[in-house]
């Protein structure tokens, strides 16, 4: 396998202007990833600031309601800033500091990655600018203000479809303008090498903890782990340490929007084809000319036309399965989890819950399943209300 490739997926398809910078990042990451000072500083921040390890919660009422395998929730929603995004951001911002950078930039969809980046920048004294599709700034207005409160500048992106893909485009353009003092804190397991590896490594703390936690609770490995997939960072983190455990099914839940038989979805495995975009060779929703398709999901965080290259590889080799979940199913799951367990999860995570609702009744009561609750749902309450036709004012 070539460097930075997962099978044939991945690569470094980016403008020449960024190449030396991306090589500098590779070098810095190789130097610091196992450096005792670096790992100690990151470990302390994850523990004392982000609140790790996150809980592995036995969802007893949900288990009873579904009547199958025992359900465990990996509570990334309880992390500081309310999602798994902080795991990666703290690592990357510490790395950026060691590279001598004083400024970070990032894309955001739902705002979770933007809020996490703005938070780390505030804590660690970095200048910060966030790029967010204009449509998403409207869907997630509270998160925009949250980032501004944290001292970041939020740039609404008005190009293209004004969503996550365009936010990535604009952050890349900004990085091409200014690399000397600026690190791009990419938020998912995507983009050019080494980002898919760096983000996966920083997120792999999820499965490292979960694997030990489930063995302690159940005395055996789970039958499956389930996570939502946009670019795929929480799923990659949730899968990673289970990959060698051949008996554990790895299931990623893609956003099917209004259905994969309509044009309004963001299901790059179910409906995408091989392509090269945003620095990587992977699967993308695109038309017959190789033009990237406008995608749709109720979830701004899954509203992305591609998937990380390691997921593409796990799919192609058959190690992981990917299933589409519609808006309707996700909203029903969002409500179900709130009513059975008293947990309001992110609409992104609700895609994983929705698939679990279908999966779990068919599994043995002697087995367990871990769902990654990647984020909390406060940010989504207004949107869910609108979806259900309830008029509320934030």
């Amino acid at each position: 396998m070539k460097t930075g490739r997962f099978g044939d997926f991945g690569g470094q398809y980016i403008p020449e202007t960024l190449m030396n910078e991306i090589h500098a990042l590779e070098t810095a990451y190789a130097r610091y990833k196992d450096d005792p000072d670096f790992t100690a500083e990151l470990g302390a921040l994850l523990r004392d600031y982000a609140g790790r390890p996150s809980l592995l919660y036995y969802a007893e009422k949900m288990t009873k309601a579904l009547g199958g395998a025992r359900v465990y929730l990996k509570r990334e929603d309880l992390n500081h800033t309310g999602s798994h995004k902080i795991n990666n951001v703290l690592g990357q911002v510490l790395l950026a500091q060691r590279m001598g950078k004083t400024r970070v930039i990032a894309e955001t969809g739902a705002g979770q990655h933007g809020v996490a980046t703005a938070t780390a920048a505030a804590l660690l004294g970095m200048e910060c600018e966030i790029f967010m599709g204009k449509e998403d700034t409207e869907r997630q207005a509270l998160n925009v203000y949250r980032m501004e409160l944290l001292g970041s500048k939020v740039n609404p992106v008005t190009s293209g479809t004004m969503t996550l893909k365009d936010a990535v485009n604009e952050t890349m353009r900004e990085w091409v303008r200014r690399t000397r003092d600026t690190h791009y804190v990419l938020g998912s397991v995507m983009g050019p090498h080494p980002f898919p590896t760096i983000v996966r490594d920083f997120q792999s703390v999820i499965s490292k903890e979960a694997r030990a936690q489930i063995l302690e609770r159940e005395g055996k490995l789970p039958a499956a782990v389930v996570a939502c997939v946009g670019g795929g960072s929480n799923a990659m983190g949730m899968f990673y340490h289970f990959i060698p455990d051949a008996g554990v099914r790895l299931i990623g839940c893609e956003a099917a929007g209004r259905g994969i038989d309509t044009p309004q979805h963001a299901a790059s495995i179910a409906k995408g084809t091989l392509g090269v975009f945003h620095g990587m060779k992977s699967f993308f929703c695109q038309n017959d000319q190789g033009q990237i398709a406008p995608v749709y999901s109720i979830s701004a965080g899954l509203d992305y036309p591609g998937i990380g290259p390691e997921h593409a590889h796990l799919y192609e080799t058959g190690r992981a399965e990917y299933v589409p979940v519609t808006d309707d199913e996700a909203v029903d799951a969002f409500v179900f989890l709130a009513r059975t367990e008293g947990i309001i999860c992110a609409i992104e995570s609700a895609h994983a819950v929705a698939h679990a609702i279908k999966l779990i009744p068919a599994l043995s009561k002697d087995d367990s399943v871990i769902l990654c609750l990647s984020g909390r749902g406060d940010k989504d309450v207004a949107a869910i209300a609108r979806y259900q036709g309830v008029d509320i004012h934030e």
């Binding site: 403008p15 202007t17 190449m19 030396n20 293209g160 303008r177 190789g290």
Partner: protein, 255 residues
């Protein structure tokens, strides 16, 4: 010798860019001939892409206008076929890798050879990734043109040594679009290229005034103008060819 070398003759070269199919195929074709009448020595035609990450707002908008007109890769090949019936001026494509990948590398470059495309510039395919294309472009006689940026530094020699056609030297950091001032030490970069290759060096990104053109011609073999021409297309549509011809003439006056 590739056809591209003809663009770099006794005079300094002028490489003019339009996005294929912007604002429609007919006006686009007229704009190409306007550039030639104005004194362009090489024509760059953009195959539009939905998400051109190395482009500034002007060329981004042109890409979307062209796509909205239903422009496809085959329609751009047809455009080149029509141009070739009337001119032998060197023609290169500029596009992102995905439309080429989607067409199929073999089919795409065979078609380039068949219609008379001399080279291709792919901004999101850096030197390290060119291996998957190089054999195919060479087999079809299409020059794969490499970009060199202000940040390339120690990479310049390696890229230049393996380059073909000409060297596309990016004048400054950032995406395409006009700039008031170019502060990069261009002559130093050109010297580094020349130390590694005999290929001509043309400079683009931000070039739009006759003064800039003159300055750049002192250090390089040619200038590349994109956004300023595309802006004339945007502003004048069917009347753009006359504006473009005058503009290119103004920029090539002292070449």
């Amino acid at each position: 010798m590739s056809n591209i070398a003809k663009a770099f003759g006794n005079k300094k070269a002028f490489l003019g860019f339009v996005t294929g199919g912007d604002p429609n195929m007919e006006i686009c074709e007229a704009c190409v001939f306007a550039m030639i009448r104005g004194g362009a020595t090489l024509i760059e035609i953009g195959i539009p892409f939905s998400d051109p990450i190395a482009e500034g707002p002007v060329i981004q908008a042109a890409n979307l206008r062209a796509l909205a007109q239903g422009t496809t890769t085959d329609k751009i090949f047809d455009l080149v076929k029509r141009l070739r019936a009337k001119t032998q001026i060197p023609i290169v494509f500029l596009t992102y890798l995905n439309p080429v990948f989607h067409y199929g590398y073999d089919a795409f470059f065979a078609k380039c050879a068949a219609v008379g495309v001399d080279g291709i510039i792919i901004p999101d395919m850096p030197f390290e990734e060119q291996g998957e294309l190089r054999g195919i472009t060479q087999a079809n006689g299409v020059d794969l043109i490499s970009l060199i940026a202000p940040t390339s530094e120690q990479r310049i020699a390696e890229i230049a040594r393996q380059a073909s056609g000409f060297i596309y030297l990016v004048s400054s950091m950032g995406v395409t679009g006009t700039r008031h001032a170019i502060t990069t030490d261009l002559s130093k970069m050109v010297r580094a290229c020349k130390a590694a290759t005999d290929l001509p060096v043309a400079i683009g990104f931000g070039v739009h005034t006759p003064q800039q053109a003159q300055e750049i011609r002192k250090v390089a073999d040619g200038i590349i103008v994109g956004s300023a021409i595309v802006k004339l297309v945007e502003n004048h549509r069917e009347n753009a060819p006359a504006f473009i011809e005058n503009y290119v003439r103004e920029l090539t006056a002292d070449a």
